[in-house]
């Protein structure tokens, strides 16, 4: 085979190279030539192209993300941004690592595998930190619920998230499923994983100790996912047809095998327990290029790899393809020579293939040999950490003034009880408001036996210690409508909602992760949205006293010129000192007093009501009040601790109307209620910092709330089999439930009626 070696590259400086096809700009290519003092070899060009892709290098977002690093130091942050995932101290010697990551583009091209490998990738990130993964969540966005392409994408994505997570034995404890026309060509698949370890077990991704061995373990390397980060994740699809018909991009989607990943998890945890590694990195985007250059770059700098040693699924792969392949379920470890045998023995016990492929060297070069010839000789920092950084131009969207001026106050409002009732049912039965059982029943929420709360609760909660009952809570929220109207405020509203969702469960919010889904950074208006959202999130975190532990940026979420609504999905992690005192969202007991905490103003910009009833998006999103959120969270923690509330449910999309219905339908307990003030505003306003609680001791709740400075409005009493709102509506729960549960099955089929229509998955399903 005619291999492009370093020696040959030096002799043939003028050979044409396909850098543009690999996604590199002319000036980026020139910079690579500059760094190397010659043209890159084919293999080097491949490495730089994937590592300098938007997805891996964060070249457009880096200058903005620095804001997160500028937040005040948090005592609970053990490992911050920059590692595979941040690590947070949750007390009693426990550390928790969590992160959310996108797999949007692959999930559009091949929904099942795209979503499945999204879960697989984030789980490996968590594992790499030294933690046992204990739960996953997913935040999903699709095009219009009744669009034909949504019927292609959604079932495959859901089956993929479930197929991979279920087979790994990780409970899925929550997330979101929302629809909007802006996601038609760009569904969002954001997967979160959370892992638990002891403080002393934290592992980092660096290669240290000259002579230490580089061990590649897990699956063999194949031809799947080549250029996934550069070709797929960092480019705009030209048309919707790309994902459907053209075979061209499908080979860029990876194929997952959760069984292998399960073995990898168990093998890694045993390897960690025996202290057999000095550094570890998973192979995800950019595969071996990423793992080797990042390990070397974070360590002392030198590493040599013998590419012939890499076990292959396909012997015809070229060295460049081996370096770029994103074959799943692979990890790379740095192991001291005298521990290699023990390392390989653990892998053997778990039937995991493990191979020594190189070693840590002195000096500061990453070198790779193939068939005895040198094909890569680069300074690893220039590949992994010193990629291009762009200060892209930003411009406030030209349509934003008009959009904000289009106030929903002008929309016709329901006047009669009949109209109010009809609008209530419309919001509740809309694809966004409807029951998500069709999705969530495809996920295992019970495995490992520590799930205390899972969907449809506001937050997921997992016990992490069976003796002390210490646990963690997590919520994921990302309202794209608010962010479209005002990215700065919208990002804070998403943060506030996730924060509130954690707080209603009784947990104390501790840290933030994020997945920032935006359109093309080459569009100054998108870049402005991005910069504003990051600024809003950073300011919000400062106000709430929470660190950002890490996150992920997904750009180029657009089809042609049309970008998605900016969608920063925010994850908040909380700690609960005794999960036996968690507060559920549903009403379980008749005779409890229903109280509304917080203040309601006429705020309908970006609301579910305006969207569902009028197809309207305009005006200003609800005002954000982070001081009020903080006071409310402290109140909820106190109420939970004292056992004063039987339930607590956050008010968000769909306002009080949605929250009341969900609380009543959870266990089939109705209520008789009186709304304060004007019924329409009371029901559909999306004012923030509000929660509905039920209690058998309203006096005590009022006293505590007064002390916390939170307004309390008594709404009525639980009981009966209807939601009765005096003068407005009398909704039998059976009727409400029928409307709420019918939507998704009507769109995507009742499972009993869909025999044969489920997209073929190649992974097991039992």
């Amino acid at each position: 085979m005619n291999v492009d070696t370093v020696e040959r590259a030096a002799k043939t400086p003028d050979d044409e190279q396909p850098h543009r096809e690999l996604g590199l700009e002319d000036d980026e290519y020139a910079r690579i030539r500059d760094i190397l003092g010659r043209r890159p070899t084919t293999a080097e060009l491949a490495m730089y192209s994937v590592m300098w892709s938007e997805h891996c290098s964060y070249k457009s977002s880096k200058v903005h993300l620095r804001r997160f690093g500028d937040l005040p130091e948090s005592a609970s942050l053990l490992v911050g941004i920059g590692e595979n995932a941040g690590v947070v101290d949750v007390g009693d010697g426990y550390a928790v690592t969590f992160k959310v990551e996108s797999h949007n583009h692959p999930s559009y091209v091949e929904p099942y595998q795209g979503a499945a490998t999204g879960v697989g990738g984030i789980v490996r990130d968590i594992l790499t930190m030294g933690a046992r993964p204990v739960a996953v969540m997913d935040s999903l966005r699709f095009g219009p619920a009744d669009a034909p392409d949504t019927a292609r994408v959604l079932p495959g994505v859901v089956a993929g998230v479930g197929g991979y997570g279920n087979c790994l034995g990780l409970p899925n404890i929550g997330g979101e499923v929302l629809f909007d026309a802006c996601y038609a060509g760009n569904p969002l698949v954001n997967a979160l994983c959370v892992g638990v370890m002891k403080h002393e077990d934290v592992r980092l991704a660096k290669a240290e100790g000259v002579g230490n061995k580089v061990v590649l373990f897990g699956a063999r390397t194949g031809g799947d996912g080549i250029g996934g980060v550069s070709v797929l994740a960092s480019e705009t699809f030209d048309s919707a047809a790309d994902g459907q018909r053209g075979p061209a991009k499908r080979p860029s989607v990876q194929v997952g095998d959760p069984f292998t990943e399960k073995l990898l998890i168990e093998a890694c945890l045993e390897i960690f327990a025996q202290g057999l590694v000095t550094g570890i990195q998973d192979l995800g985007g950019a595969g071996l290029s990423c793992a080797t250059s990042e390990l070397a770059s974070a360590g002392t700098g030198g590493m040599h790899v013998d590419l012939d040693a890499v076990p292959l699924r396909d012997s015809t792969l070229t060295p460049a393809e081996i370096l770029m392949s994103e074959s799943q379920e692979r990890m790379c470890a740095i192991v001291e020579p005298d521990k290699v045998d023990a390392f390989l023995a653990v892998c053997h016990r778990w039937e995991v293939l493990a191979t020594v492929i190189g070693e840590v060297t002195d000096g500061d070069r990453l070198t790779v040999d193939w068939h005895g010839e040198r094909i890569v000789d680069v300074p690893p920092r220039t590949v992994a950490h010193e990629g291009p950084v762009y200060e892209r131009p930003t411009r406030r969207p030209a349509d934003l003034d008009d959009l904000q001026a289009d106030d929903p106050a002008a929309l016709p409002r329901p006047r009669t009880p009949e109209e109010l009732q009809a609008h209530w049912l419309a919001v509740l039965a809309s694809p966004d408001g409807a029951d998500k059982t069709w999705v969530t029943e495809q996920y295992d929420r019970y495995v490992r036996g520590n799930t205390v709360l899972a969907q449809p609760e506001d937050a997921g909660m997992v016990r992490i210690d069976e003796e002390s009952n210490r646990g963690i809570a997590l919520a994921l929220d990302g309202n794209g409508r608010y962010t479209r109207l005002d990215p700065y405020t919208g990002a804070q509203l998403n943060l506030a909602e996730a924060y509130r969702n954690v707080a209603v469960s009784g947990a104390r919010p501790l840290a933030v992760t994020n997945c920032l889904n935006f359109g093309s950074p080459e569009n100054p208006e998108v870049m402005w949205q991005f910069a504003e959202a990051v600024r809003g999130l950073a300011d919000g975190c400062r106000a709430l006293g929470l660190p950002v532990t890490g996150g992920n940026v997904s750009l180029y979420n657009q089809t042609g010129d049309v970008a998605i609504d900016p969608t920063p999905v925010i994850g908040v992690l909380g700690v609960h000192e005794d999960v036996r005192r968690r507060v559920p969202t549903g009403w379980r007991t008749a005779g409890e007093t229903v109280l509304l905490l917080g203040e309601t103003k006429p705020e309908f910009g970006g609301s579910a009501w305006a969207s569902v009833v009028h197809g309207h998006l305009g005006g200003r999103p609800p005002a954000v009040d982070l001081d009020a959120e903080r006071e409310l969270a402290e109140l909820l923690a106190a109420l939970g601790r004292e056992g004063l509330v039987g339930s607590a449910h956050d008010l968000a999309d769909g306002g009080l109307a949605q929250a009341l219905a969900e609380s009543a339908l959870r266990y089939g307990v109705g209520a008789r209620l009186n709304l304060p003030g004007e019924a329409f505003t009371a029901l559909f306003s999306e004012s923030t910092a509000r929660v509905v609680v039920t209690t058998s001791d309203p006096t005590a709740v009022r006293t505590t709330a007064q002390w916390a400075g939170v307004a309390v409005t008594e709404l009525g009493t639980t009981g009966g089999d209807a939601l009765v709102v005096e003068g407005v509506a009398e909704l039998p729960l059976a009727e409400l439930r029928a409307a709420w549960t019918a939507t998704l099955p009507a769109l995507f089929g009742t499972p009993e009626a869909t025999v044969g229509s489920v997209p073929a998955g190649t992974v097991p399903t039992s």
Partner: protein, 223 residues
């Protein structure tokens, strides 16, 4: 009482089964698939999961594991064995229980809190229940549809070997709503639902599942 809990590559609910045995008052003993060593256990639980990734057929490869060969031999001599979900699939593949588990009729993986009726309260694993008792435990599977030839179904029913049956809805299209069956001697039981996920108020829909694990303790004592 020492209750073995098996782990195959891809077992997932082994930690749950261990916890259930412990909460029931038994001593859980980890059993590794590759060993020919039953460690003198008094009973064995084969937990749920995706042993060997469900490749070939769910449970087919695990049924040939060294440990399972020993379990089959001992089960034929009266060792109480409980197979849950993937464990049930393994027991059917190993020939200890009649019938087979196939892809759910609707082809989806489905998790739900499922009502069951205890049909036999005299097996090694169901003594702490009453015949006809309704319990609620999670069911979660993609290949949980119980099937057998009509004549075999008639025979199984006639011999009273249906241990638990789905009520208030059949989650996967199982024939005759069969959720679990037993061996002729009542000592080997397999079921698709997950009693080990219903042993604590905090984490399960009920504590109805604990009875499976307490039943066998008495069974072992009285044997």
């Amino acid at each position: 009482m020492r209750i073995g809990v098996t782990t195959f590559p891809g077992s997932l609910d082994d930690v749950d089964a261990v916890r259930a045995v412990r909460l029931a008052g038994g001593e859980p003993v980890a059993l590794w698939h590759g060993d020919h060593d039953l460690e003198d256990v008094d009973a064995v639980v084969l937990p749920g999961g995706f042993s060997y990734g469900d490749y070939l057929r769910a449970g087919a490869i695990a049924a040939r594991a060294p440990l399972v060969q020993d379990i089959v031999t001992r089960a034929r001599q009266g060792l109480p064995v409980l197979g849950i979900c993937n464990g049930f699939q393994v027991l059917c593949e190993a020939g200890l229980l009649p019938g087979a588990l196939t892809r759910n009729a609707h082809l989806h993986f489905r998790t739900r809190d499922q009502a069951l009726r205890i049909e036999r309260a005299d097996s090694a694993w169901t003594r702490d229940y009453e015949a006809g008792q309704r319990i609620v435990v999670p069911v979660k599977n993609g290949e949980g549809r119980y099937v057998a030839a009509p004549a075999d179904l008639d025979r199984i029913e006639a011999e009273g070997r249906v241990v638990v049956r789905y009520v208030e809805g059949n989650p996967n299209g199982s024939m005759r709503d069969i959720a679990g069956v037993t061996s002729a001697d009542g000592r080997v039981v397999g079921l698709m639902p997950h009693p080990e996920h219903a042993v604590e108020e905090l984490t399960g829909p009920s504590t109805d599942g604990l009875g499976f694990f307490t039943s066998v303790l008495e069974q072992v004592v009285s044997a």
